[in-house]
Subunit: 205 residues, 2 copies
Amino acid sequence: MNADKVPDIIVGRLPVYLRALQRMAEKGMRTTSSQELGEHVGISAAQIRKDISQFGEFGKQGTGYSIPYLINKLREILKVDRMWDVAVIGAGELGHALSHYQGFANRGFCIVMLFDNDQSKIGKKVGEFTIEDSSCMVERLRGANVKVAMLTVPAAVAQAVANQLIQAGVRAILNYAPISLNVPDGVHVQYIDPATHLQRMTYYL
Amino acid sequence: MNADKVPDIIVGRLPVYLRALQRMAEKGMRTTSSQELGEHVGISAAQIRKDISQFGEFGKQGTGYSIPYLINKLREILKVDRMWDVAVIGAGELGHALSHYQGFANRGFCIVMLFDNDQSKIGKKVGEFTIEDSSCMVERLRGANVKVAMLTVPAAVAQAVANQLIQAGVRAILNYAPISLNVPDGVHVQYIDPATHLQRMTYYL
């Protein structure tokens, strides 16, 4: 299996399957079918079978998928069978919300640092974190070998901060600023921009 | 042009093009090419031309696209050439962050209401909004004809609250709770779940 050969659109659906399977497991379910999983995620059973079969034969005709087995396989494929340290850049309301967010548990991520450039915020506690000075960010990230960051700074400075993150060795940036970032090959960016998501729905209204 | 005939994957890219074009316009640019736009959004020029041509002939060979014209066309196609009233359900840190978010300006959305079921929050001000009692939510949304909502409640209650939103006439839900929602045909859901976005990147690391 060559990671580059699986279309990105399929890769993008795997975390959705994983999330649904983890919810099923929490409810005590042990097996599922592509039909049932499809109803949970709003994707056709045929598409799910096709997507999952890109990575091997994980289900059996007639008996379906073992939920714990498929969870383990998907965690392995997505490389979240380990914990990734994550830095949050920007300690505004969104940075605070992310620092307290419970949804990372069990999903491969652990927030370890929170930065801001506002002198009135630096040193303050947010839950278990102390807001650190972003002027020390590159050094701190490099020292701790952090590869994943969430960017919640204003749009006007997002590219400059992203450049620093990349310089520090970060390879995956979840960008909440409403601009597209230019990054070199080998650095991955995902965007969370509520207006973009809303516009995708108003098209259909 | 029939809205149902354009693949959803293309529809999903239009807001990204629109955002990039609006940034270009803010910088005073008047024209662009599919190459230049592609560099801003990380999508190939050929793909952009193909996507946009689904809706008509908006560019000219050799001179490219007029930015104001293409912005107007995309706003029309995405139905954000008008303002949509939006309700925020859940006045936690994320609900607060969304209520203060500046990124909706100029993009077709205006937050008009904020609800919570926590008696200690109801009646408090968040910027210009007063947190309203979610027990009055269905009536309030229906009375104001609100079609768009952002859901920032805990996962355990997200489906129940979504059901109420649908009952109230909401047709587009931006769901921040880390679960998949079951909704009837004609109701649209988009998900913002940072762990899912992060997992999509760790695959490549």
